[in-house]
Amino acid sequence: MKLLICAQAQAEIVLKCLREFQQGNDITVVVPSDVGRVLKESEDIGSAELIRLKGKRFCDDSIAELEPLKNEQFDAAVMVSEGPAFVGFDKVIETIDGLRFNGTLIFYNSIGHREVIYVPNGVGRILERCAVRLLYGFCSMIRPIELFVERIYIQCAELLGL
């Protein structure tokens, strides 16, 4: 499998993740410069291709380093979190937004827990997008109606002393 690992996390967590995914996979790791320096000196980096982004955090600077990856097709993207919660991926998501991957996102947190999300591709992705927008619009639309019905129900209950 061709894997893209994006990490806005400490080097130890990235290395742990690398060790777990390395076997049988062709890996490209994208990390901020500081983390990259530590990874470069580690044996665990193995055959993985390392891309160091400028700046201390993702999107701090231009992401020209990712240009060559735009022509590649990844099977999955692994996102490594700084902490135990699955938060702080916004910049990472933004960074990889223009890249092509085959629909699997793996969220990996600091304690090694994984969450796998399958993202549809091509037509499936367009359909999902439309479906979510429709559903979101529908929920937003029925919300006032729901509140209106609720208000009537409560007023009736109040009249009955309930």
Binding site: V87, D90, I93, R125, L135, R143, E146, G161
Partner: protein
Amino acid sequence: MCGIAGFINKNGEDADVQKLKRMTDAVAHRGPDAEGQLCEGNVALGHRRLSIIDLSEDGRQPMESTDGRFVITFNGEIYNYKELKEELSACGAVFANDTDTEVIIEAYRRWGVDCLERFNGMWAFVMFDRSQQELFISRDRFAVKPLYILDRKDLFMFASEPKAIIAAESEENIPDLVQVYRFLKSGIPEDIDERSWYENIKQFPAAFYGIYSLKTNSLQVNPYWQPDVEQFKKKWIDGRDPIATFKELFDDAVKIRLRADVEVGTCLSGGLDSSAIVGCCKKRHGVTMRTFSSCYEDKSCDEKDFIDSVNRFTGSKPVPIFPDEKLVPFVEAFQEINKNHDGPAGGASLYSQYRVFERVGQQVKVVLDGQGADELFCGYGGALKLALRRQAKTASRASMVKILQNVISENSFLDISQLSTELGIRVLGIDFYTDWVRRVKKEKAERNAQWRGRLPFTKSFSALIQDQPTLSVGRQSDDEITQWCLNSLLITFIPHLCHNEDGNSMNFSVEVRMPFLDYRIVEFALALDSSYKVKGIWQKWIVRKALREYLPVKVRRRRSKMGYPAPFFRWLKESEEKDEFREIIFSFAERNMVPLETIEARYTAHMSGKANTELILFRYLVLELWLRTCNFDKIPG
């Protein structure tokens, strides 16, 4: 409920009764009904009494046991004292009065430190055992009642409030800069660990007891209660119907909290929890109460409709209070609140709470309050987010309407931008989520443009305070929601909410009793499967279900939440004191903790309406007011 204070001269010098009196005078507001001081050799025990159970002279403290072996000074209530007294009497114990204080003494004589496991209540006490020459010290399980200690080479002191210690040892009026840093950084005030707002004065830990030996002049502390979810499951859940069990526990928790020889009222916000208490008192125990509620002319933060609904439903006697109706200048009020809390006020909402208790204190001595339910049964947005996460993990795509309904609900605290990335993608799909994140980030960037690049702290302050470790209760449960409840109970919410409530209520000699913090309900809630706490779009589901008969439909179906609202953002801009606020906020820069340009940027952004920075400006204001009362000038450098 009272105020306690005392000390031990470690060098063996006789205790000075005048010094002890200075201490008890400092906490006189906690107990205006009587006072007592006892000095015996190098030991001093003092007390201020708020008479609630057994109003006779027999209840005076420090109280001696019938045989004279023990002397106790006690703040709090042991709600199950009647049951314990019966049990102890059957074992031959002799009682001289009707107080719960004497029950503590006899329980300790009979069961030793194990007596603490049997107490159901809130307490902080120090008991002198003359025969063993030691002090037995204890604080309740959830830090409801305060207890502070100072342990120096020459002196051991304890008191209900730090001001009592400072009244006797004025050189200890030194601010704890770590607390100040934490407060500025996240707004979390004290009570998250043993620190107080003063450098050398520490909090005695909740759910612990201590034995202070006069022979060795040393204090040994040990826990008597610890959260053990598996144990609690065996005790409260296995083989029982959770809904019936919860109702049974809640009914009893309210019943034993109605025990008093004075009138008991209730704080009623119109939310689910306080309404359930009022309903239970009336429908289950036949008690019609006076209900005290804060009301506002400003409809955006007024809950009057809900309050009226509960009062009509239960036939209670309403006492509306309008905190906005200004009687005392805000600055003066915040100085007073800082003084009550022995530190800067934790939030502008304390002003509203303060005004409510000011009125309560003129009418009753005891009120019930709904504190605890949000933390135990997931009433906050943070818990809803976790519940959504679980729903999103297991729910089919077809159930997504329910999840989106929750996300969109205008009454919910939850905002789509608060969803974690993983959850956001799972619920909304990657494109929709990334679009949303982009929009939120753009808005945030525009908001933050005002102070981008400005340092939150001066370099000298940052260098002085190294990064503080994050506190944790440790992993007790694999279930994220149960873990969230534990953190809320022991670290993030309950300790400082109790601190705030104690500070505001005791300033007006009012005792607050919290049925949801009955330890049996806490243990039950921690063991309860979280699907009973959040079901679909309903938070605190079990409270709505089990206490259905106590709640009017309007409240039972309520999903919004307000707390004690206080429109500080408006006060800053429009009140007559806005210039004084500005002067105080800007003079905080002289403390060399936050750079002047940061304060300036935040203030300008707020006043121009470009951003709402009221939270941080409020922290600068109250912190400056409090620092003016301490032995502190500024951070050097």
